[in-house]
């Protein structure tokens, strides 16, 4: 089965991203396909490569990256939601005159239509939020 996933909350305060990650991991381990994980609302903070959790805690950003690498999962953040929350790609930083970028490169920046398209292609869309 093909899954399309939406994550609507940031890491650490909310469990949504952890739950989505556990779900995605279980799905691919069971032989299913996760075609896309889209990060929206505060979910865009999951793409912040400057996140530096303590060593005895899980690393939410990196666990997404590792899973995406291993199973060729497409990770995408919403362009509008991320820009206003200060989650910037190098191109966006340049365009808006900001002196730093902070998107983990495994995450692509896309319009929210990319998520809707995923929900049309996939067999199931699962929303993780509060």
């Amino acid at each position: 089965m093909k899954f399309n996933i939406l994550v609507n909350e940031g890491p650490y305060t909310h469990q949504a991203s952890d739950s989505a990650y556990q779900f995605a991991k279980a799905a691919v381990s069971a032989g299913h396909e996760v075609i896309r994980v889209f990060f929206y609302h505060d979910g865009v903070y999951n793409a912040n490569r400057l996140s530096a959790p303590s060593v005895d805690d899980r690393d939410v950003v990196n666990q997404w990256v590792r899973l995406a690498d291993e199973y060729e999962i497409d990770l995408a953040v919403c362009v509008t939601a991320s820009l206003k929350r200060g989650i910037l790609s190098d191109q966006s930083a340049l365009r808006y005159g900001k002196n730093a970028d902070n998107i983990e490169k495994k995450f692509q920046v896309a319009g929210v239509g990319y998520f809707i398209e995923g929900s049309i292609i996939a067999d199931r869309t699962i929303v993780f939020g509060d």
Partner: protein, 130 residues
């Protein structure tokens, strides 16, 4: 992508201001219109406040996005279902809600019982909750 349209339902459960969920959900509905699927929106729990007539959030430095709901029929959203129980629990009636005229002048805002809503939800291909 298959040729047959998918039935997509947006479920709005939160008040319009105080959090960004409602506004950012509306952004998804508008962006998703380009895919020309069969789209409906549901308002339940505090989500019914999103359709409240006479909003004036300018004193909160927020935009009154309830006006945008009026454009939804142009974006192929032909049904704005309001769960009747949620409305009654909040001491409201249909008269407290904005009207969203379709092309034939009928109102796209429709009151619906919880039971009927469950049935319609069951018929959807994709249910997105915000």
């Amino acid at each position: 992508m298959g040729s047959s349209k998918k039935r997509i339902m947006y479920v709005n459960r939160r008040a319009p201001y105080g959090t960004a969920y409602a506004l950012e959900a509306l952004d998804v509905v508008l962006a998703g219109a380009v895919f020309e699927q069969e789209v409906s929106a549901v308002f339940l729990d505090d989500g019914v406040y999103q359709l409240k007539r006479g909003q004036n959030p300018s004193v909160l430095d927020m935009k009154d996005f309830s006006k945008t709901f009026g454009a939804l029929p142009d974006f192929d959203v032909m049904h704005l279902y309001v769960e009747e129980e949620s409305l009654v629990q909040r001491g409201m009636t249909a008269e407290d809600l904005i009207e969203v005229p379709r092309e034939d002048d009928s109102n796209a805002v429709t009151l619906i019982s919880s039971t009927d809503l469950s049935m319609i939800m069951d018929q959807q291909d994709v249910v997105l909750q915000f």
